[in-house]
Amino acid sequence: MSQATTLTPRPTAEPTDFQRRLVTHADAAVEWLARSIAACGGRGSAAYYSRWYRPARGWAPPYPETTGYIIETLIAHADFARRPELIELALSQADWIRTLQEDDGALPGGWIAGGRKPPPSIFNTGQMILGLVAAGDRSGDAACLESARRAASWLAGQVDSATGTWMAHSYVAGYSPAYYTRVAWPVLEVWRRTGDSALKSAAVRVLDTIAGWQQPNGAIRNWEFRPGQPAFTHTMAYTIRGFLESARLLGNEGDRFFDVALRAADAVRRRMELRGRLAGAYDAELRGRYWYTCLTGNCQFAIAWMKLGDRTRDARFLSAALKALEFVTRRQSLGAIDPNVRGAIAGSSPLWGRYLTLRYPNWAAKFFVDACHAAHARLQRLVEDGPCGS
């Protein structure tokens, strides 16, 4: 695989104190992600770290799904922190993911433990496509894009013609979650790079189906992991982000998906502002479970709100995003006694909250770093440009 080490120039204006904090926190989280990969011998990132669940080693086996989307984070941080060695690390993970691909293009769900490869998964395949595409874009390696194309074609072929969404190869048998919007998005990423209209048709079909699930209060039916349970902010934000990124890729044709994302995200934003913080999960009436916070959900909502704020030119979204992210920065330990907790982001705050109880998942660190990058860039723009409209 060819190596690309071109880094974007550093910004010139003096950063704010909060931006400096973001750099420190993001660096620590990336160091932790690198440790999660080293813990798996460089072949994938460990799903989580927990001395409670894994008393001996602490580290869980590698998780291809999240390793996939960690690739783009590592590449972004290479630019952000001017650390070209992270690109090498990211591309090596893309190589590993390609070794897991089935002949039909599918990629596995679950973890890779004891050399056993789990059966294919719709959702996980989508997330790995994001990493393959990011690696391909950065390295120019056609093999990555080809791998992504085969995975996307497999996904397009799996859309159920009766329901208009994916029914097989799901996390819960017979249940098609709304966060499959986050599978439609990577399929569209491949469509944009290949021009294969079958991919676009399949993705739009799924997006239209899920858009029809939006409730009058902005909530989206089936955005929870399991039917009938309150939805963690993690899967709610997955759903919203899928709509947002799909809308971006589809241009004007995607406006209706943007509107769905906006209504859902704004409903949650208002609740967060009135209550002072995000709940860990929300039920169908958007009543929150406030006794804990799903930290990765905070970061994911922060990212979605920042993107919405860009497009709507509504700074209230940025303000909400910064609050949600600041909450997480205050819960990342930079000086923990256990070095494998240093820089990690817990599933929940408090640690015994419902989401990934007593664990530090790799995707929480990933979305935290992404959110830090996004916030830093927006604050930099404000510092340089001055008051909005000036």
Binding site: T16, D17, F18, Q19, D255, F258, D259, L262, E273, L274, R275, G276, R277, R311, T312, R313, D314, A315, R316, L318, S319, A320, A321, L322, K323, E326, A375, L379, L382, V383, G386, P387, C388, G389, S390
Partner: protein
């Protein structure tokens, strides 16, 4: 015209100034409804909004004499300085609402919230023509229906564009000259008919606390002017449409830090509130 003044807490310099100045202008202030600083609803609201740490900083600052704490935006003393200067200049010696009421012979009723039964019955008994709002939390319909002419509020930012909290800071963030807007309170958040607006000079925003202090001082003067206007009669109001503005919440600390940076760099607003329009449609 019989007036009632509210007070958000016992040391509100804002309320003290209004009580003295309304009386000095010959108005009949029948009652002051003073909200106790600490009550369950208020603690819950602020802890949710600010978290325990910032809540405690805010309460301790209030107990010390009225300034709100700031981590990024300069000294908290700056916020209260403008009102202290105003009181000194006006020769007002009271430093508590209770002392002001005692000095002026105004009945003070301390309440848990302005919407509780004690507040409502005291207000009904006072038979006010007008309530002058000087803090105390969100007002509910039963209270709003009592005064014959309504409840006047001085909002700390330009209406209708910037509703809700930190509206002066949000105006600056959007490159708009800060101003205070006096309006009649209705059931919405800062959506009631506008009576008058007065600018807060940009130069007075040396930092966020002093800007807030100057806004408070300007709001006292604007409210006095508005009460005079209502007392004279024949005034006109400008109705607001809900679509004309956006409701803001507390500005995130990192954005306050950016606004503070702009102020320090003298990157001043480029337009007045009258020139400002929100984009018609998101997206």
């Amino acid at each position: 015209m019989r007036l009632v003044v509210t007070s958000g807490y016992g040391r509100s310099l804002h309320a003290i100034a209004l009580l003295h100045q309304l009386r000095a202008r010959g108005h009949d202030v029948a009652l002051c409804l003073s909200v106790r600083l600490l009550n369950a609803a208020r603690i819950r609201f602020y802890v949710r909004q600010l978290g325990w740490r910032r809540f405690w900083r805010k309460v301790s600052a209030k107990l010390r004499g009225g300034a709100q704490p700031h981590s990024h935006a300069g000294s908290a003393a700056g916020e209260v300085a403008a009102m202290r200067r105003y009181l000194d200049h006006a020769g007002i010696g009271s430093r508590s609402v209770a002392a002001a009421c005692a000095a002026l012979g105004v009945r003070e009723v301390r309440v848990g919230t302005l919407n509780d039964d004690a507040a409502l019955s005291a207000l009904r008994a006072a038979r006010p023509d007008l309530v002058v709002y000087a803090g105390g939390g969100i007002l509910r319909r039963p209270l709003l229906d009592i005064p014959r002419l309504g409840v006047l509020n001085a909002h700390g930012g330009p209406l209708p564009a910037f509703r809700g909290m930190n509206s002066g800071e949000w105006a600056l963030f959007h490159g708009v000259t800060p101003e205070v807007t006096v309006h009649f309170i209705d059931a919405g958040v800062d959506t009631g008919p506008i009576l008058l607006r007065r600018p807060v000079p940009v130069e007075s925003w040396q930092d966020i606390p002093t800007g807030r202090g100057e806004s408070t001082r300007a709001s006292v003067e604007a409210l006095l002017e508005a009460v005079d206007l209502v007392a004279r009669g024949g005034y006109e109001v400008q109705p607001q449409s809900p679509d004309d503005g956006r409701q803001f919440f507390v500005m995130a600390e990192p954005l306050l830090e950016v606004v503070q940076r702009w102020i320090a760099d003298e990157r001043t607003p480029v337009r007045t509130a009258a020139e400002f329009r929100w984009p018609s449609r998101p997206g």
